[in-house]
Assembly symmetry: C2
Homo-oligomer: 188 residues x 2
């Protein structure tokens, strides 16, 4: 990549209160199909509420995901990304495995694909990919939706950083299902 970055890196993800994006076996039923609980306070949109998934997706033209997320998506039975360019960051997936995705072996290759595609909004998804992008200072905003459950273990959303990353809080909303969604931009 030459010159300043022309795209915004974005995270949109659900997480348990204790910071896991999936169980150790990849299970996300606690997020996708939570138990009914009429005791949750009714959902509320605070000032400047974070976008929901569909409105968020309008703001991105590329996705970068890891092999774990890619394989999870294949189990859905449909391809959720439409015509958006999907880059799978994987050292092992065959490059011609799936014509719907570009395979990148490392971060520089990902950046090359994004450059070639004149990316503007990049949805970065999956724990390890998010962590790698955060460490490389390639994330500009995060919408984190906190599910009302403690899992006690699983795949963590966040990992080690070389230094603090300050965030600016841009809005919070809640849902009838007990989720609290918070939007941050990375403070620079």
């Amino acid at each position: 990549m030459s010159g300043p970055r022309t795209w915004r890196g974005k995270v949109f993800i659900g997480v348990s209160l204790d910071g896991y994006i999936a169980r150790s076996d990849g299970g996300i039923e606690w997020l996708s199909d939570p138990p009914d609980d009429p005791g949750h306070v009714p959902g509320h949109r605070g000032p400047n509420p974070p976008a929901g998934y569909e409105d968020f997706m309008v703001t991105v033209d590329h996705l970068v995901i890891g092999r774990g997320t890619y394989e999870k998506v294949l189990t859905f039975g449909f391809w959720p990304y439409g015509a958006k360019q999907v880059v799978v960051l994987s050292t092992t997936l065959a490059r011609d495995h799936d014509e719907r995705v570009a395979v990148a072996r490392n971060l520089p290759e990902v950046l090359g694909v994004l450059d070639d595609g004149a990316a503007k909004g990049v949805y970065v998804d999956g724990g390890r990919v998010i962590q790698e992008f955060l460490r490389a200072d390639l994330i500009d905003e995060l919408i984190i939706s906190i599910a009302p459950v403690l899992l006690g273990g699983g795949l963590p959303l966040f990992g080690r950083l070389a230094s603090d990353m300050r965030l600016t809080h841009k809005g919070t909303s809640t849902s009838d299902t007990g989720m609290t969604s918070i939007r941050y931009i990375v403070t620079r």
Copy 2:
């Protein structure tokens, strides 16, 4: 302890977005003295907003803290707990070390002190003590205030659990300093 538990176990704590209550060296300046950021959205009290610290403290008559929290509190230069009974869970602190606290060697001893004191509301504080109380199913509600920062490491708030712990979301509010506070009760 004989018979059903007569007190409610409560957590009220600040945490970084990546789940740490302090740096590895105990530092909490990111929480107690956060940098000014006029970019945060103005604070907003949603429906049924969580109590602030002073209102929360009115609801507790006992505290249970670990040695780390106890020693942190000693650095404050004042004793923040007034006449509330403080129990320090520590295997090493001398029992007659400080007349303001009761020292308990293990969880059964803590429960004995709470029983003797006819506890009604118990503020459980400090990462390891909170984790031990959660694992023993002794926590009934949590007010978690999420600070707008990623630390990348430190002392984690949550730990391993034998099974999921479902939570009921009772309210969320935000502050001008970018904090999002969420109140949960443990679903039973």
